[in-house]
Amino acid sequence: MSGRKIGDVILDLQNISLRFGGVKALTDISFNVREHEVRAIIGPNGAGKSSMLNVINGVYHPQEGRIVFHGEERRKMEPHKAAKQGIARTFQNIALFKGMSVLDNIMTGRITKMHASFLEQAIHFGRARREELEHRHKVEEVIDFLEIQHIRKTPVGRLPYGLQKRVELARALAAEPTMLLLDEPMAGMNVEEKQDMCRFILDVNDQFGTTIVLIEHDMGVVMDISDRVVVLDYGKKIGDGTPDEVRNNPEVISAYLGVAH
């Protein structure tokens, strides 16, 4: 791929197990993510892919295992702490703030970087006023980057599905994350929208060096854009390696690629 250099391991997941009552969503899963890489997680429906992302940024707390992020070791993350440490994400089912405009949704993405006190905000003076402007500039950069200038002021609820997905990406990018978790960013899109989304993801990775962990069902896309792929099936890891390695792994072929996709 491009000139970006894949760095050291920044996220290491060790022996993660997650259960919901009797349902074993994840069983003893270990893998790592290197700085600046595009890491894909694939697997059939219900394999535990979304659960894995939820463990990474602390929405779910695994019963067993360890998470090491930037050298810091812990059993579980807390979502707002993960955000502070530079992890942003999008959701499989769009999770935009539907009562707010596109601009406000994206501005909300910068919330961890805004420090004006509540009283300063109430009188809209000094730091509060300055911050709103500074962050608006940043947000406009993201808006330009994702080419959504024309819908800035639109309530997100009125947007078509493909654009909503793009706004959700914008909200995540506004946080200037070092690691971006994308849960099926291209699901339900037409070919053209998928191509746009692919281009944006690669541009983010390329221009900002953002590490990307991505779940995707479209095998063509996965093989094209990812550096390494983890394959899950029934909550277990059955493959891990470069797209080529994974493609030729017999267990993966029978479990996943074998079924019509």
């Binding site: 940024n57 929405v59 979502p79 707002h80 993960a82 955000a83 502070k84 942003a88 994400r89 959701f91 999770a95 935009l96 703030f97 539907k98 009562g99 707010m100 406000d104 501005m107 909300t108 993405g109 910068r110 919330i111 961890t112 805004m114 004006a116 509540f118 905000q121 109430a122 009188i123 809209h124 509060a128 911050e131 709103e132 402007l133 608006r136 500039h137 406009e140 909200r171 946080a175």
Partner: protein
């Protein structure tokens, strides 16, 4: 305020982020304020100021408080009247027990006391939502009124907890005439409304709406849910508390805890449903509507329908109309009058060429 904002292109983000970005809105607000401060006290009779405009402003403030909590932060509450009671009784006690207490400080103290109580009763919101939270705030409503009646200290041991608000005096000027009281209430409400408008267009307001719309995503973005919800309870209760203090000091003078009953909580809830959930102007529209509707209905019944309607109907007409309107707004236009007004403006802007 019907106009088109054609030709107003923003050349900087600062211009786009003003409190009222459209020039006509700014002018409109200034005109309304000028009328409210200068024309109204001269044009309206004492009766109107005392019996209609002052309560309208006070209810607007309470509705604004509830709208911050319910409309912006998405936490349903049936305890608004109880928080008003806390504000009224706390301000009364500050005046009573602190020598030389300035009245404005007593109002702020009343608001802060209500905020503290609001935070305490907001704690269940960290665990429960929607209907169950409404029931928890209902408990607050009954408990607070009961406590204020039961513990004599709050009302300085008067019978059945009645308090008589002290005189309002600022820098030697005593607010006794309806005009003076109206202007004092108006000034307080305008300042608090502007502060609220600033809050909802800043990051705290976005955090409230984010928690309302999608709490998991809000948390993942880095919003601390607990902090955000409790802040909404605090600010909301502060506004209700100040409204309660004004209700006692500037409106009825003598109140008992029972005056802040569940009925009043519901009335405030109806105001935001009719006026517009999640809108500052909606609080004012809703309060105006609910204060004026009974008067308008009385006039209609007496002037045109006298003898036409059976007395059983005309005496319940208010309730019937309220019920109908609330069902209408809940089903047809959940964003209330504020949204209808906006739609009307959009339609007129295109008129007469709808395409």
């Amino acid at each position: 305020m019907l106009y088109r904002e054609a030709g107003q292109f923003k050349t900087s983000y600062a211009a786009d982020q003003q409190i009222f970005p459209i020039r006509q809105d700014r002018i409109g607000i200034l005109i309304i304020l000028a009328i409210a401060f200068f024309a109204v006290p001269m044009l309206f009779s004492e009766y109107w100021l005392k019996a209609i405009l002052i309560p309208f402003l006070i209810f607007s403030l309470a509705a604004l408080g509830l709208n911050i909590l319910t409309g912006y932060a998405g936490q349903l509450s049936l305890g608004s009247a109880a928080f008003m009671a806390v504000g009224a009784f706390a301000s009364y006690n500050f005046m009573l027990r602190v020598d030389g207490m300035p009245i404005l400080l007593a109002f702020i103290g009343g608001g802060l006391a209500a905020a503290a109580v609001g935070i305490a009763f907001g704690l269940p919101s960290l665990r429960i939502k929607g209907f169950y939270l409404a029931v928890a705030t209902l408990a607050a409503q009954f408990f607070i009124v009961w406590l204020l009646t039961k513990v004599g200290w709050f009302s300085n041991y008067s019978s059945s907890g009645v308090i008589t608000a002290q005189d309002m005096e600022i820098l030697g000027y005593r607010f006794v005439t309806p005009e003076a009281k109206y202007l004092l209430v108006l000034a307080i409400v305008v300042v608090l409304a502007l502060l609220a408008k600033n809050m909802v267009r800043s990051s705290v307001g976005r955090a409230w709406m984010a928690v309302r719309d999608m709490d998991v995503a809000a948390e993942v973005i880095g919003i601390r849910i607990m902090h955000t919800k409790l802040l909404a309870f605090a600010v909301s209760s502060f506004y209700c508390g100040v409204a309660g203090a004004l209700y006692a000091f500037a409106y009825i003078g003598t109140v008992e805890p029972e005056g802040f009953s569940l009925d009043l909580s519901f009335k405030i809830l109806f105001m935001i449903i009719i006026g517009g959930v999640g809108s500052i102007s909606g609080a004012f529209l809703g309060a105006a509507f609910i204060v004026l509707l009974p008067i308008a209905l009385d006039v209609i019944v007496q002037q045109w329908l006298a003898g036409v309607l059976p007395p059983s109907v005309s005496s319940n007409l208010q309730l019937i109309v309220f019920g109908g309107l609330i069902i209408f707004f809940l089903i047809v236009e959940p964003h209330g009058l504020a949204r209808l007004w906006q739609i009307g403006k959009e339609k007129l802007r295109l008129w007469p060429f709808p395409h």
